[in-house]
């Protein structure tokens, strides 16, 4: 599934990093603890968090995270947005809580998987 498809299914808005929307996502990871993400997130995952400062982009770039979803309408800093554009890592926004958006993303992946299996 591409980030673009996830964006449409989950009704996310895009802060920045539009050029990365065509990338494929392999799954998701949810955490607000940066060293947890550093140690455990995997390449190609979509990262759901409430953190908004530049360090999230540094981590996303180092870990080859496909995109970041910032929850609860929180606003990323100017530096975060610049970094996202430079690295083409989409920074997405939702008004929903991490609980709700994670549930939806999980369902989306499970549905995609089940339709693949039925092909």
């Amino acid at each position: 599934m591409t980030i673009e498809e996830i964006k449409n299914k989950l009704d996310l808005s895009v802060f920045s990093g539009q050029d990365g929307l065509s990338k494929t996502a392999t799954g998701g990871y949810v955490s607000d603890l940066l060293s947890d993400v550093m140690g455990n997130a995997k390449e190609g995952q979509v990262w759901i968090t409430l953190q908004t400062h530049k360090n999230i982009m540094a981590i996303a770039s180092l870990k080859d995270i496909a995109a970041i979803i910032i929850v609860k309408d929180l606003q990323p800093s100017e530096e975060t947005i610049e970094f996202s554009n430079k690295e083409n890592i989409p920074l997405l926004s939702t008004s929903k809580s991490a609980f709700e958006i994670t549930g939806q993303l999980y369902e989306t992946f499970m549905f995609a998987k089940s339709t693949q299996e039925n092909d």
């Binding site: 607000d32 603890l33 940066l34 060293s35 947890d36 550093m38 140690g39 390449e43 968090t49 953190q51 400062h53 530049k54 360090n55 999230i56 540094a58 981590i59 770039s61 180092l62 870990k63 530096e79």
Partner: protein, 138 residues
């Protein structure tokens, strides 16, 4: 090949620059991607520890035929009990640092699990030396 990076304590806005520069370079050198990924995690954690806990430091990167060695040295408060600091969840990070999402006490354990060798020496009131080794294609 040897490269040196300065790391500024307290400056979270440039945290991770050394790690990302090394990642870029190792990719150019066609180093095996799994090794790069492991090294990058270990390097980032050591780099951020200088930013979060020390005043000033540097990373000395040594790229060899069969391994990469990075030595982080800093001027800072040092670590009194290294075994305790190595425990998952142990952190002395300030409230301000925690608000940014650091301070889970997982950085040193991440280095341990991602690098092939980790050697820490420290003198309280002076500073800390963290040596990381990753073998290529290990």
């Amino acid at each position: 090949m040897n490269i040196k990076f300065d790391i500024e304590g307290g400056n979270f806005s440039s945290a991770g620059l050394a790690s990302s520069e090394v990642k870029r370079l190792l990719k150019q050198l066609n180093i095996d991607i799994k090794t790069i990924k492991r090294l990058v995690v270990a390097m980032y954690e050591a780099e951020v520890n200088i930013v979060a806990h020390a005043y000033q430091g540097e990373a000395d990167v040594e790229i060899n035929e069969d391994h990469i060695k990075v030595v982080f040295t800093d001027h800072g408060p040092g670590i009194d009990d290294i075994d305790l600091a190595m425990q998952k969840g142990y952190s002395t990070a300030s409230e301000q640092v925690r608000e940014m999402g650091f301070g889970a006490g997982m950085g040193l354990p991440n280095i341990k699990s991602h690098a092939d060798k980790l050697n820490i020496t420290s003198e309280v009131g002076k500073g800390t030396r963290v040596e990381i080794i990753c073998y290529l294609n290990a």
